[in-house]
């Protein structure tokens, strides 16, 4: 028995509780923790890039998921898609896809909120800190703006650090808009203009360029924040004016119109060097991305393996032309919409895929039938003839093999200068300044080859129809229908209250009762 005592003592020495405590400390090798991240500028920039990646995922993902596009374009009547999305009569699969979009938007919001909340200010250079926070606020605002327009009342996510924060409850739309306005106002102060931007460069990479078309091309700018804020004001104002939404009387219509006008005016005044690109069909070309006309867009680059490319071209490529290897052709335009463009409107040929050049270098009028009509706003990165006609390749010689798969670098435009001009015109018109309003509409029409003389009739109606032709397939029209209360005009079957907002994913209602009630009618 004496031996046993020694053994017991030995056991206790081998693993006394304190030794065990140390033994049980969890060693981490391959990831950071929220507690040791957001600590310096490099990490801040890296997290900010994650926020942008989240934004991209909402619009279009590498998995060829373009549900966001379908949700907002199919009900406008300009795109022929699956019956479920066109008629907002969703199948179980459609609802599952909508849930993905909803989730991705909130992932982006949460990433931004975490960064805004946790980035350690004292460790980051002041200018960089302001810029990082302002960019994050811009992206978050854009997400909130989309969310509130699509789903109505939504929660605010302030960055989920523990489980307690994971169940935010819905707040009223006016509160969401107030948050958006607050964020964009501060972002508009702190963000540099697109011309100033490049001076900061990207810390640590040494890729400093003096031209904005360099390394940092595509980040949020002062102009972007101002233009988005203008759009927010105008959305509120016009919704109140059209009785589409009164926002619990939290906003004053004229105040909102005025603020929109002031912002548009300041951008128009030229501080940022924005302007219209002469030829409409050049707008979407790579050389013009993030430049004079492109105030903000979601960036894609031509890419084979990293999957940063945009394959909306493949989605719109009609089968059988031989232009792309992957011709999915599920997104098509309606012929009725094509007929809204007069032939002399330069936007007609630039927007629609009317002909292509085959292998024998012969122009083929296309499409053969009305059902296969398609649009080519996301084709500008493709090998085009001098007059912007897609060519069937003799051999598949593209810039990279990625293009072969239909993955192009075309950005998805969010804010364009011509949009801003029309917003300016709309707010001027609402505030009674018809003369200046007409001039801004004329700016846009002139570029399209329609001259500066405006047709007779109601100016607001003209603005609506200009927006329709100028901004089609750019995820704008459905929001216009809603804020201007004109759904009845274009999609009478979707004019019921039910179709004003999308259904909140039912699984979210199950896990988070704070989201109840479901939007009416769903």
């Amino acid at each position: 028995m004496r031996n046993a005592k020694y053994l017991v003592a030995l056991l206790l020495i081998v693993c006394s509780l304190s030794a065990c405590k140390k033994y049980l400390v969890e060693e981490v090798f391959s990831s950071s923790q929220p507690t040791n991240f957001y600590m310096n500028e490099q990490q801040g920039i890296s997290a900010l890039n994650g926020v942008y990646a989240g934004l991209r995922d909402t619009y279009f993902t590498y998995a060829n998921d373009y549900t966001f596009f379908s949700m907002l374009e199919a009900p406008t009547g300009t795109v022929s898609f699956s019956p479920g999305f066109e008629g907002m009569n969703y199948s179980a699969k459609d609802l599952a896809d909508i849930k993905k979009v909803w989730d991705r938007m909130w992932v982006c919001v949460n990433r931004a909120s975490m960064l805004i909340k946790l980035l350690k200010k004292e460790n980051v250079n002041e200018i960089s800190y302001k810029r990082i926070i302002a960019e994050a606020k811009f992206v978050r605002s854009l997400c909130y703006f989309n969310l509130v327009r699509m789903w109505g009342d939504i929660p605010l996510n302030d960055g989920v650090e523990t489980i307690d924060g994971a169940y935010p409850a819905k707040v009223s739309q006016s509160l969401v808009y107030k948050q958006i306005i607050k964020d964009l106002e501060s972002a508009a102060v702190d963000l540099p203009t697109w011309k100033q931007y490049a001076a900061y460069g990207n810390s640590g990479t040494g890729n400093l360029v003096n031209d904005y078309k360099g390394y940092e091309r595509g980040r949020a700018t002062k102009g972007a924040a101002q233009a988005l804020l203008a759009k927010v004001y105008l959305t509120i104002a016009s919704s109140i004016a059209s009785n589409a939404n009164l926002y619990d009387n939290a906003f004053d219509k004229n105040d909102m119109y005025t603020k929109a006008k002031v912002l548009c005016a300041s951008i128009y005044a030229g501080g940022h060097d924005y302007g219209l690109i002469t030829d409409y069909s050049d707008i979407f070309k790579e050389v013009n991305e993030n430049g004079k006309e492109d105030i903000f867009s979601v960036k894609f680059i031509e890419d084979s393996d990293l999957k940063l490319g945009n394959s909306l071209a493949g989605m719109t490529a009609v089968k059988g032309t031989g232009i792309l290897t992957t011709e999915v052709g599920t997104l098509k335009s309606t012929s009725a919409f094509l007929n809204e463009f007069i032939v002399s409107d330069k936007r007609r040929a630039a927007t629609f895929f009317l002909e292509y050049i085959n292998k024998s270098n012969v122009r083929v009028l296309y499409p053969a039938g009305i059902k296969t009509l398609t649009f080519k706003k996301y084709w500008s990165d493709y090998q085009l003839s001098s007059d912007n006609i897609p060519m069937q390749p003799t051999t598949y010689i593209f810039k990279t093999s990625a293009a072969d798969k239909g993955r192009f670098g075309d950005d998805i435009p969010i804010l364009r200068y011509s949009d801003l001009l029309l917003m300016y015109a709309e707010s001027l018109n609402a505030l009674g300044d018809m003369a200046n309003a007409k001039q801004r509409v004329a700016d846009v029409r002139e570029r399209s080859g329609l001259g500066r003389v405006l047709p007779a009739g109601d100016l607001m109606e003209l603005i609506i129809s200009e927006r329709r032709r100028e901004l089609c397939f750019e995820i704008q029209l459905w929001f216009d229908y809603q804020r201007l209360n004109i759904v009845q005009r274009y999609r009478p079957t979707l004019s019921a209250v039910k179709y004003k907002y999308f259904p909140i994913p039912i699984s979210d209602l199950m896990t988070n009762p704070g989201l109840l009630p479901q939007n009416p009618g769903w």
């Binding site: 033994y23 090798f29 923790q33 940092e216 894609f300 890419d303 199950m510 896990t511 988070n512």
Partner: protein
């Protein structure tokens, strides 16, 4: 015969005569052999009461001096001692019998063994011999239906396929939910690689008083596997082999080309809104569609001979002070699908040495290599093969693989046969399990044991798609190579102390154990743009483009203190206390440690006076136990939160500014410092009753198992949180169950024997608490639901009431508003041939709020029944298994029963994924065929409901699992051969079921069925599961 009688008579005369000669010293000679007449060397012969000893020589012969009244004692390790009276005999032929360690008498209970009669907990034991009655390459499948309270099944029938053991209902919804496997004291995750012929016994610990000694690892039950060890005094060589051929037992019938034509054009007419890429199918013009014929049969083209062969050689040699055993096993299992196979090569080396009386040192090493070839691709291929229409050519005109789809315009069809033939997909694991131990007998009462166990495995995946496949051609070859290394150390120190008095006995055991598990992996990512296919995955530098390379490392530690005390009084009353105190690195700082106690009492009532002389009842024992065990089966770092380095990896692309991709990071999980152990508390009452000298035995248990703080890996979070899910202690669950086995030796004749065995299990699972409201488990995959008051994983759908056969039926299907009394149609937009749904909540609207539990993945009960017949040297074993009252989500219907949309091409989103139809669709609703259960082609539904039939099907079945016949050759005429037997068996001989998939037990919890890290969160999900074959086996066993 006459000669023998004469000789015998003479012998008796001789004996009688010699008896008269007494007390005379003489030299006695003789030979000692074993039962097989093999001479035994070094047998010790002693004259009782004297110092005279002798030893047998190489021929087993001996000579010794003794007197007529002396007794000679023969002893030899591993043999039963034998004593003979000398009388006046001068020559002895002595046969020593092998000492049979009656393994049934000893039960392994974790860290020690006890006599079966002393067991206090609920433990089932299966011997190696029971396992080997069937020629089944893995031990889990061989256990099917044999363990009361365990739901054991083969979930994947692919070569080297996966199995599942669930002890006493669903115990955990995180991790695998599988029990802890302990092979000779070594903890492992997967026992698929273990060769059944190495198994001596398997003990399954079911109640918490038994499992609490394993503390944090024991919540799902414990399976203890003891492998065979060389026996002292024995030189044994065994060889066994078998060969199996397998045939398709059931298949899914798909339409042929002519039938497809009818459906194709009907769907086209019913859904004019769907745009087809072109109007006509190449080679199958519409106007002659009656002449389409059979078309192409991709299923037939994908097959290869489906066989399995197994070889085993074992050699063991043992003496009292040392022993060694060597074993080699080779198994080759060919899949049903081209180029798909599984190869396993096992070695077993174990040995022991006793340098002194008090010290024993030993080791075991199990090196194993197993290789899955084309397993993942094969599984995918099944899905793809069934998706291909019968009008899509497999080969083109030149006899090469065709990649052009049915419409002949797009190159978007991945030919699965081309993929199987041309690509490389090897998944290879090299693994070593090892154990060294030392036993010290300090005093006869006190022993100390320490052991160090080390597991190492390296899994290597080699993947290459050449340009002769569609996917490979798009990227000019595509390679991926990855390595995963797992290392685990376990070190324990156990002290045991025992007192054994005539009236009572006490044994005590205490000790500690620490373990550490590290994982590290390297993955090449996808390497593409090869200028030649000749290298395959073996020269990544030949690929011009690489992306998504990654590496990873993790570590987890566990420390535990354990103790047990067994008290026994009068061989009637038994008491066991168990405790374990475990700490895991994986939990939050305040929740690292947990205490798991257990107590068990047993009463051998049969030994009481009132029963001891009962002529009918020969055994009656009660067992009562209560205890706790836990689960920590989550990945490390779940309590800390993490920031995900998105890097430039392929799966999570980052963002680009200008033309440059940038690095990005984002929150992956948030921290959860309150994350803690899942605790399983169990109460058990058991009874064992034997009748007529234990010719009939009943063994039954009733239990209540409560699992609190359920660890849920993918606890769904609302999307607004920005996270899809997190690991949480998500709720509580309970299982109430009842299980029994009844076994009887019905006929016990000399030549003819008949015994039978019935095993019954039943449990009822219920989620008793769930955080928040209920939620769908994996909405994108199936309709399983978890919510308070329901069993975990019930299928949550709006009930279907059949098909509207006429418009009148639709008009009559209405709702009366209880306040206004107004009538309104419930499905106003429905058309004849659409599905009729139930308005379960009675609100007048049919939508997703009408979902309710329409089926359960949990069986009502399971019964296994075995019958053994023996006649002379023949033995026949029949085993029937049945699972009653469970439903299965038959996901193959998603493709083959999609009557609502027109499926033209797998890649042709959003029109669906399937391209072919089940023959059941031929019975669809048409104006001419109104009374049917299949909706019309192009049927529609609103409000997010499905327009297709539900995928939930009845999964009950009765299966003739195994019929085996064996013949033992009589030993006569077999020199040097100890035993020789041949056997033949049929597995899965008959299956009675209503299930329409290939097998009702298929389950693919995670994609790629064979993966070992399956999660148990998805139950009863069958997506083109590998068909279960009818398997015919022939084999032989040879011992010499």
């Amino acid at each position: 015969m006459k000669l023998i009688l004469t000789l015998g008579f003479n012998f008796v005369i001789l004996l009688l005569f010699s008896h008269s000669v007494s007390a005379q010293k003489s030299i006695i000679r003789g030979q000692v052999t074993d039962e097989n007449k093999v001479p035994l060397v070094s047998v010790t012969i002693t004259v009782a009461g004297k110092n005279t000893t002798a030893i047998t020589n190489a021929n087993g012969e001996f000579s010794i001096e003794a007197e007529t009244r002396d007794k000679l004692k023969f002893s030899f390790v591993g043999m039963e001692n034998k004593t003979v009276d000398v009388n006046s005999r001068l020559f002895f032929n002595v046969v020593l019998k092998l000492k049979i360690e009656n393994i049934d008498e000893v039960v392994v209970i974790g860290y020690e063994t006890v006599r079966r009669s002393d067991v206090t907990g609920s433990i089932s034991k299966i011997t190696g011999n029971d396992l080997r009655k069937q020629a089944i390459p893995n031990i889990v499948s061989a256990l099917v239906g044999k363990v009361p309270g365990a739901y054991i099944r083969t979930t994947g029938n692919e070569p080297g396929g996966a199995n599942s053991i669930k002890i006493r209902g669903l115990s955990s919804i995180n991790g695998t939910g599988e029990p802890l496997y302990v092979v000779d004291g070594i903890y492992i995750d997967n026992i698929n690689f273990i060769n059944p012929s190495d198994v001596k016994s398997i003990e399954i610990l079911k109640d918490a008083a038994s499992t609490s000694i394993y503390g944090s690892r024991g919540a799902n039950g414990v399976v203890l596997i003891t492998t065979t060890k060389p026996k002292a005094g024995q030189v044994l060589t065994t060889y066994s082999t078998y060969y199996t051929t397998k045939y398709m037992a059931r298949k899914i019938d798909v339409v042929d080309a002519a039938q497809y034509a009818t459906l194709f054009y009907e769907m086209k007419a019913n859904r004019p809104d769907i745009i087809l890429p072109t109007v006509e199918i190449v080679g199958f013009p519409e106007n002659i569609r009656n002449a389409w014929g059979k078309g192409y049969d991709m299923v037939k083209e994908s097959r290869q001979p489906w066989t399995l062969q197994n070889h085993d050689i074992n050699v063991s040699y043992g003496k009292a002070e040392s022993s060694i055993g060597l074993g080699i096993n080779f198994l080759k299992d060919n899949g049903a699908i081209k180029n798909q196979d599984y190869t396993r090569f096992n070695m077993k080396i174990n040995g022991m040495i006793k340098p002194t009386e008090k010290v024993e040192l030993g080791f075991s090493v199990f090196p194993t290599q197993y290789i899955y070839n084309h397993m993942d691709d094969g599984q995918k291929a099944i899905e793809t093969i069934f998706g291909v229409t019968p009008v899509t050519p497999i080969y083109d005109k030149d006899g090469k693989f065709n990649f052009i789809n049915m419409f002949g315009t797009d190159k978007t069809f991945e030919n699965p046969i081309a993929r199987l033939n041309n690509s490389t997909d090897i998944d290879k694991t090299d693994q070593i399990l090892s154990d060294i131990y030392a036993n010290f007998t300090i005093t006869p009462k006190l022993t100390f044991r320490t052991s160090l166990k080390y597991n190492y495995s390296l899994r290597e995946r080699l993947f290459y798609l050449p340009s002769t496949t569609l996917e490979g051609s798009l990227s000019s070859g595509k390679a991926n190579v990855s390595h995963l290394k797992i290392q685990e150390y376990t070190n324990n120190y156990i002290l045991s102390y025992g007192i054994n008095k005539s009236k009572y006995a006490i044994t005590m055991l205490g000790g500690m154990e620490i373990s550490e598990k590290g994982r590290s992996s390297v993955n090449s990512g996808d390497v593409t743009q090869f200028n030649s296919d000749i290298y395959g995955p073996y020269n990544l530098a030949a690929g011009a483009s690489a992306a998504g390379y990654s590496s990873f490392k993790s570590k987890e530690t566990l420390a535990g203190f354990l103790g047990r005390a067994n008290f026994k009084y009068d061989d009637k009353y038994f008491l066991t206390f168990t405790s374990r105190y475990d700490g895991s690195s994986k939990f939050g700082a305040n929740n690292k440690w947990a205490f798991f106690p257990g107590v068990a009492v047993a009463w051998d009532m049969n030994k009481e006076r009132f029963l001891s002389n009962n002529k009918i009842i020969s055994n009656w024992k009660w067992r009562f136990s209560a205890g706790q065990s836990g689960s920590s089966s989550i990945l490390p770092y779940q309590s800390q939160g993490s920031i995900y380095n998105m890097g430039l990896s392929k799966s999570t692309p980052t963002y680009a500014f200008g033309n440059t991709a940038v690095a990005a990071e984002a929150p992956e999980t948030f921290s959860n410092p309150d994350l803690k152990w899942e605790i399983s508390t169990q109460f058990n009452v058991g009874v064992e009753i034997g009748f007529w000298g234990n010719r009939l035995n009943f063994n039954g248990d009733v239990y209540l198992k409560k699992i609190s703080n359920l660890l849920v890996k993918d606890f769904p979070l609302p999307g607004v949180s920005g996270f899809a899910s997190s690991t949480r202690n998500g709720g509580d669950m309970k299982n109430i169950g009842f299980e029994f086995s009844l076994s009887g030796d019905i006929i016990k004749g000399k030549k003819f024997k008949l015994s039978s065995n019935i095993v019954f299990s039943k449990y009822k699972n219920e989620i008793t608490k769930w955080l928040g409201q209920g939620s769908m488990i994996n909405e994108n995959k199936y309709t399983g639901y978890v919510g308070e008051g329901y069993a975990y994983g019930v299928f949550w759908e709006v009930p279907q009431l059949g098909i509207f056969s006429t418009q009148e039926e639709i008009n009559n299907y209405s709702f009366r508003n209880p306040t206004s009394g107004a009538l309104s149609m419930l499905q106003p937009t429905a058309k004849p041939g659409d599905i009729k749904y139930a308005d379960t909540n009675g609100d007048g609207v049919i939508n997703l709020s009408d979902r309710t539990a329409i089926g359960s993945p949990h069986p009502d009960f399971t019964i296994g029944m075995g019958v053994d017949f023996t006649y002379k040297n023949w033995a026949l074993n029949i085993f029937i298994n049945s699972v009653i009252g469970k439903e299965v989500y038959n996901s193959s219907n998603v493709q083959l029963m999609n009557t609502s949309l027109f499926n033209t091409n797998k890649y042709d989103e959003p029109y669906g994924e399937a391209t072919s139809f089940s023959t059941r669709v031929l019975n669809r609703w048409t104006p001419e065929n109104q009374n049917t259960s299949v909706p019309k082609l192009g049927s529609t539904a609103t409000n997010g409901l499905s327009a297709n039939l539900t995928n939930i099907e009845d999964g009950s079945f009765i299966r003739f699992e195994n019929i085996a016949l064996s013949y033992n050759f009589p030993r006569k005429n077999m020199k040097g051969i100890k035993t020789f037997s041949i056997f033949g068996s049929v597995q899965n001989a008959f299956l009675i079921t209503k299930y329409r998939g290939t097998d009702p037990e298929n389950n693919q919890p995670e994609p790629g069925g064979w993966a070992t890290n399956q999660s148990s969160s998805i139950l009863a999900y069958d997506n083109f599961g590998y068909p279960r074959p009818i398997a015919y086996t022939l084999g032989l066993n040879l011992n010499f």
